[in-house]
């Protein structure tokens, strides 16, 4: 079980860094609340509740992008990634740990964002919460993976949204479906399918992203 010990140690490192420096989470929180306020004014008066549900997903996606863009910045600035690749641990552990850390940040941001959404717009059902949890897994798994690639390119922060948004379209479909459809079961199943498929793909190919 050294694999999970490695993952735990790496994830703890990221959480500890965030606790000390606090540069990602406050930004995400402020961003998501500001987005809700912008949405309030961009929705015409008397528009339906369904439109607001859709916007919740846009807010989640962009907040996640904000966090993911920061995910590998410490690694790049301090050249930690080179050290991690040399360390005698499986390379996919780096991805898994980073995904868990970003998932924790995104989850923490949503713990505030969802009640604020309920306060500003309308109440949120259990299906929406389940959808958000499943979508978060997919967003963090794929987003962390792409973040590791984007950070090694010349374009850097510019590239991550371009790489990520086409891959996030199925997540939005599943999430919006889970929050607005009468029977959310199949949308949740679809999100779970997405998580499993892309999670496995990321896990299997991450090694090639950090090594040559």
């Amino acid at each position: 079980m050294t694999y999970f010990a490695d993952v735990g140690a790496l994830a703890r490192k990221d959480l500890l860094l965030e606790l000390r420096a606090r540069d990602t989470l406050p930004a995400m929180l402020l961003f998501v609340v500001a987005t809700f306020v912008v949405f309030h004014f961009s929705l015409p008066a008397h528009s339906s509740q369904l439109a607001a549900s859709g916007l919740l997903w846009v807010a989640i996606l962009f907040t996640a992008l904000l966090g993911l863009g920061r995910a590998f910045v410490p690694e790049r600035e301090q050249r930690v990634l080179d050290g991690l690749v040399l360390a005698p641990c499986d390379r996919s552990a780096i991805w898994l740990a980073k995904s868990i850390a970003t998932l924790a940040f995104l989850g923490a941001a949503e713990l505030v964002a969802l009640p604020v959404f309920a306060l500003f717009f309308h109440g949120i059902g259990a299906a929406t919460v389940a959808g958000v949890v499943l979508a978060d897994i997919g967003i963090c798994a794929v987003g962390t993976f792409l973040g590791a690639m984007a950070v090694a390119t010349r374009a850097r922060d510019l590239l991550l949204p371009l790489l990520f948004l086409p891959l996030a379209i199925p997540i939005v479909v599943g999430g919006v479906g889970a929050s607005v459809a009468g029977s959310p079961g199949r949308y949740l199943a679809f999100l779970a399918l997405y998580d499993v498929l892309f999670g496995l793909l990321c896990w299997a190919t991450f090694e090639y992203v950090v090594t040559e």
């Binding site: 374009a155 790489l163 086409p166 379209i169 919006v176 479906g177 992203v209």
Partner: protein, 229 residues
């Protein structure tokens, strides 16, 4: 696989002539032999090329992913370039799918764009995805890292195709309650023959273009090497 490896030994001029002949036959069949569709009349004739081009684009993306897998798995030299060229062909054919599909939508439903057309929406997603592939590829310096990044992203593409297709299917129930049911043509007789010939012609055309581009790219690389030699 053996067929493909044998195909790669066919000289390029022969391929070009064969695709030209096949394309002429296909066009003749489409415009002069295939009967008018009972439902859609003359406009149904777009179908022969539209669907064939779409299938060809999928084949190109699949070939790109296959070459990407070969690169990651067996470290085939040249697999990276082949994967890139195949994806490039796929994007060209994907753009043609969007254009012809949009024209078909205009004839059949009077709008240039329809969110209810699964295949069009899927190709839009794929178009965005593979444009990002080019952005990724051109913002990394040539070398093993670029080859790895491109290969991994191309593999994401083949997983994205079925997942997106499923997503678009299930999204219809809340994005678009009214479902356009396109009465599929009754396959059979000349319609089937025309479709098969058009499909073969486009696949061969795509393969020919792939080989032309690959030859050019390899030549380019060799000249660059000579220059620094």
């Amino acid at each position: 696989m053996r067929v493909v490896s044998r195909l790669s030994r066919v000289p390029l001029p022969a391929l070009a002539v064969a695709s030209l002949v096949l394309m002429t036959v296909a066009l003749t069949l489409v415009f002069y032999v295939a009967p008018n569709d009972a439902d859609q009349g003359f406009s149904q004739r777009i179908f022969y090329f539209h669907v064939s081009i779409a299938f060809t684009a999928y084949a190109c993306f699949a070939a790109g992913a296959w070459k990407a897998l070969r690169h990651l798995w067996k470290r085939d030299p040249g697999a990276d370039l082949e994967s890139y060229v195949a994806v490039h062909q796929g994007v060209i054919f994907g753009t043609l799918v969007l254009l012809t599909g949009s024209i078909w939508a205009k004839i059949s439903w009077g709008h240039w764009w329809l969110w209810g057309e699964d295949e069009l929406v899927l190709f839009l997603v794929l178009f965005l995805f593979y444009c990002a592939y080019f952005m990724l590829r051109f913002s990394v310096d040539p070398g093993p890292q670029r080859a790895n990044f491109s290969a991994v992203y191309a593999l994401f593409g083949v997983v994205l195709i079925p997942v997106s297709f499923l997503a678009i299917r299930i999204a219809k129930s809340f994005v678009h309650p009214e479902v356009f049911t396109l009465h599929g043509p009754n396959f059979g007789g000349w319609i089937l023959v025309t479709y098969c010939v058009a499909q073969a012609a486009l696949l061969l055309l795509a393969y020919t273009l792939y080989r032309v581009e690959l030859t050019g790219k390899r030549l380019d690389a060799r000249i660059r090497e000579l220059r620094f030699a």
